[in-house]
């Protein structure tokens, strides 16, 4: 057993009705499997929001970036990277500037 801390922002926070929560995991889990559990828990609108796409540097990109312990997880590694007990996972929109 382990626990993963999740942080939501912007619309994801509104849909989930909370800014953060803790998820129990029985074994190290991929980002994809964590997202699947969250969609099950918070409903299809949560999934639709997470699947939004945006244009960044002229490339089609996911609108929400996933960070695990401060490190961005590329789309190509969402299935492979394992999230372990005590990790912090953030979902941040792509907005940027200053």
């Amino acid at each position: 057993m382990g626990k993963v801390s999740l942080l939501y922002s912007h619309r994801l926070k509104e849909i989930a009705g909370k800014a953060e929560e803790v998820l129990d995991i029985t074994a190290p889990s991929s980002v994809t499997s964590i997202i699947e559990r969250l969609v099950e828990q918070h409903g299809p609108s949560f999934g639709r929001e997470l699947n939004l796409r945006s244009s960044e540097l002229g490339q089609d990109s996911p609108f929400y970036l996933v960070f695990v312990d401060g490190q961005k997880i590329p789309e190509s590694k969402k299935d492979a990277l394992l999230i372990r007990d005590g990790s912090n996972v953030s979902f941040l929109p792509l907005i940027s500037g200053g």
């Binding site: 942080l7 922002s9 912007h10 619309r11 800014a19 939004l52 796409r53 945006s54 244009s55 960044e56 540097l57 002229g58 490339q59 990109s61 609108f63 970036l65 960070f67 312990d69 401060g70 490190q71 961005k72 590329p74 789309e75 190509s76 912090n88 953030s90 941040l92 929109p93 792509l94 907005i95 940027s96 500037g97 200053g98």
Partner: protein, 625 residues
């Protein structure tokens, strides 16, 4: 249809004489306009070693090549001068409506020379140029002056660029304001305007805007609008404006400076979130000229506190940086800065610096005119802003900016001044975003995030990073490898926005790239560019700015960061434990630029390649400090 008219208007303040020169196509094809051509004009018209607050320092205002056209988000203009803050190149960029009005008057650049004997304002009505007495305006706030000028002229149909008391009092952290709240605030350009006793520039243009091929242009603009509308980035930014960045930079990345960068993360910061801003203070959205995004807001923080804004940078500088999480106080402080003509970043930095000096026993309450310098004290923050603008008491010291103030306070204070080349650092901690740190260090105008705006280091995929910058780690925010190439790449593209007069939030799209810009420009200009030409222009502008700074005595040793970022790890949050390894990034950056890695001086070969042959005449003398 309006004709394509591009002029430089020269004003000699002592005599009141003016002359107009048509811009040569060769200048446009080498530097475009806006920041690009301003930097070239500054290089040519500012003698080496000129006193920034003396008569030889020209004040140059440049609309971009596309400013005021039918191109979306084409509101931007740049104010340039030798900086009294850095001693090198100074410029500040703003949106609003002043830049487009310049273009409607047929003017792309204004070069203002000399100093008036008494306060004046400049009135431009198409070809008619007059200097008018501003004795009664001197000492008035931005709002009071704006109202008085419009009353005197009997019309609201003018655009006004103004300084407030802070600029009049030659504070290098003063800002130039248009539309009451849009600020060109960096680099001390308002102090240069104050040194010329030039209270305002008032402009009215009636010539309209040139379109080459109306059908082609509007078809392209329709395509642009249709691509922006469904993109969630634009939907979110339209709603929240830049305050929406707070959640990302604080909770998500842990790079929001708190208490003068002693911390960069606070678990609970909802009191200053965009949600609270929208819920409690925002009244309606506001946009600049011809903007489909409209990211600004009108807000009210009380009966006398109706204002426009607030931007993330102002929120960060006047809030957490000074230890305040009280949004009402921050919004009032933002309004005070607009009204007195202060740079919110420079002012917040100076106050945060003073509060840390007090925390460490370097400044007493008595030194600060009896003010309580506890972190986050709202009354103190508001009082200090007034003192800075009017140079009263401790405000006289802070009005010079944190770096110069630290020299006067003495041992122990200098390392608390969070600046590069004398200019205050913005509200993003570079320890958690390494490319931003490099960008601050090498920026030609001192600490600045907009020169490079290397958001790609956390937004790009590893595959894109590998393709564009040679290594996947360029897209890893904690890594240093690839960041030199990334920052150089970003700087050369971003400067095109500044030279064309386009907003950064529009050019985050494919219109960041020369290929797309080359499609856009011919719609509203008879001059066409190839993508290669545009790429070369971006690099040329960055190199002429480097040459200006070298000529003024800046060296590689000025391309650095405060010691805190190099040696003190971020204590908490998602960027915990991070510092900046600047040297390796700097070397990679110089190599990517074709600059000498030991001196940071561009190679003759690079300058010849960019057609900067005349400008390289003093090269052998540069870099000696």
């Amino acid at each position: 249809m309006a004709r394509f008219e591009r002029n430089i208007l020269y004003i000699d303040l002592p005599s009141g004489d003016s002359s107009t020169e048509e811009l040569s196509p060769s200048l446009i094809t080498r530097f475009l306009g806006g920041r690009g051509l301003n930097s070239k004009l500054l290089f040519d018209h500012c003698p080496a070693g000129a006193d920034p607050l003396g008569p030889d320092n020209p004040l140059i205002i440049g609309a971009g090549l596309l400013t005021g056209t039918a191109v979306p988000a084409s509101s931007r203009f740049t104010v340039s001068a030798k900086s009294p803050l850095t001693g090198g190149l100074g410029d500040a960029n703003s949106g609003g409506f002043f830049g487009p009005e310049m273009r409607f008057a047929g003017i792309q650049h204004l070069v203002i020379r000399g100093q008036a004997e008494r306060p004046v304002y400049l009135l431009i009505e198409d070809e008619q140029v007059t200097l008018r007495d501003a004795g009664s305006l001197w000492g008035q706030t931005v709002r009071e002056s704006d109202t008085a000028i419009k009353r005197e002229l009997g019309t609201d149909e003018v655009q006004i660029l103004l300084i407030g008391p802070a600029g009049e009092n030659l504070s290098p952290i003063a800002g130039v304001i248009n539309n009451l709240s849009r600020a060109a605030a960096r680099g001390g350009v308002a102090a240069v305007m104050g040194s010329k006793k030039l209270k305002a520039i008032v402009i009215r243009g009636t010539k309209g805007s040139f379109v080459s091929d109306k059908d082609k242009a509007f078809s392209l603009f329709k395509e642009i609008r249709e691509s922006l509308a469904p993109d969630p980035w634009f939907q979110m930014f339209s709603k929240t404006g830049t305050p929406g960045l707070m959640e990302n930079y604080n909770n998500g990345l842990g790079v929001m400076p708190i208490r003068n960068f002693q911390e960069s993360y606070r678990k609970e910061s909802s009191s200053i979130s965009s949600k609270e801003f929208l819920r409690l203070f925002s009244k309606k959205r506001k946009g600049c000229y011809h903007c489909p995004i409209q990211c600004s807001h009108f807000y009210s923080a009380g009966a006398d506190w109706n204002e426009e804004g607030i931007e993330y940078e102002s929120l960060g500088a006047l809030g957490p940086r000074c230890g305040s999480f009280d949004l009402a106080v921050i919004l009032k402080a933002n309004a005070v800065c607009n009204r007195l003509g202060l740079d919110t970043i420079g002012a917040g930095d100076a106050i945060g610096f003073l509060m840390e000096c007090h925390q460490r026993g370097l400044v007493s309450r008595q030194d600060a005119d009896g003010l309580d310098l506890s972190w986050g004290n709202g009354e103190t923050i508001l009082a200090l802003l007034h003192k800075i603008a009017y140079r009263e008491g401790i405000g006289d010291l802070l009005a010079e900016g944190s770096y110069k103030a630290s020299k006067k306070i003495g041992p122990g204070a200098e390392k608390l001044a969070m600046h590069v080349k004398g200019q205050a650092i913005i509200a993003t901690d570079p320890r958690g975003l390494k490319a931003w740190g490099l960008g601050y260090a090498v920026s030609s105008r001192g600490a600045c995030h907009l020169r490079a705006l290397p958001v790609a280091e956390y937004s790009a995929s590893p595959e894109v990073a590998k393709k564009l910058w040679g290594t996947e780690s360029a897209a890893d925010r904690f890594a240093v490898q690839g960041k030199g190439r990334l920052v150089k790449w970003c700087e050369d593209l971003r400067v095109l926005s500044d030279a064309l007069g386009l907003c950064r939030f529009f050019t985050r799209t494919t219109f960041l790239f020369p290929e797309q810009l080359a499609r856009l420009i011919p719609c509203v200009s008879p001059i066409e560019f190839t993508p290669d030409q545009l790429s070369r222009i971006g690099e040329r502008i960055n190199n002429i700015e480097r040459l200006f700074n070298l000529r003024e005595g800046l060296t590689r040793s000025d391309d650095t960061l405060p010691e805190r970022f190099l040696s003190e790890p971020i204590p908490e949050g998602p960027s915990r434990g991070q510092t900046v390894d600047l040297e390796s990034m700097l070397n990679e950056y110089y190599e990517a630029r074709g600059w000498d890695t030991e001196t940071g001086i561009p190679s003759p070969q690079k300058l010849r390649e960019l057609g900067l042959v005349e400008e390289m005449s003093g090269l052998k003398q540069y870099g000696k400090g």
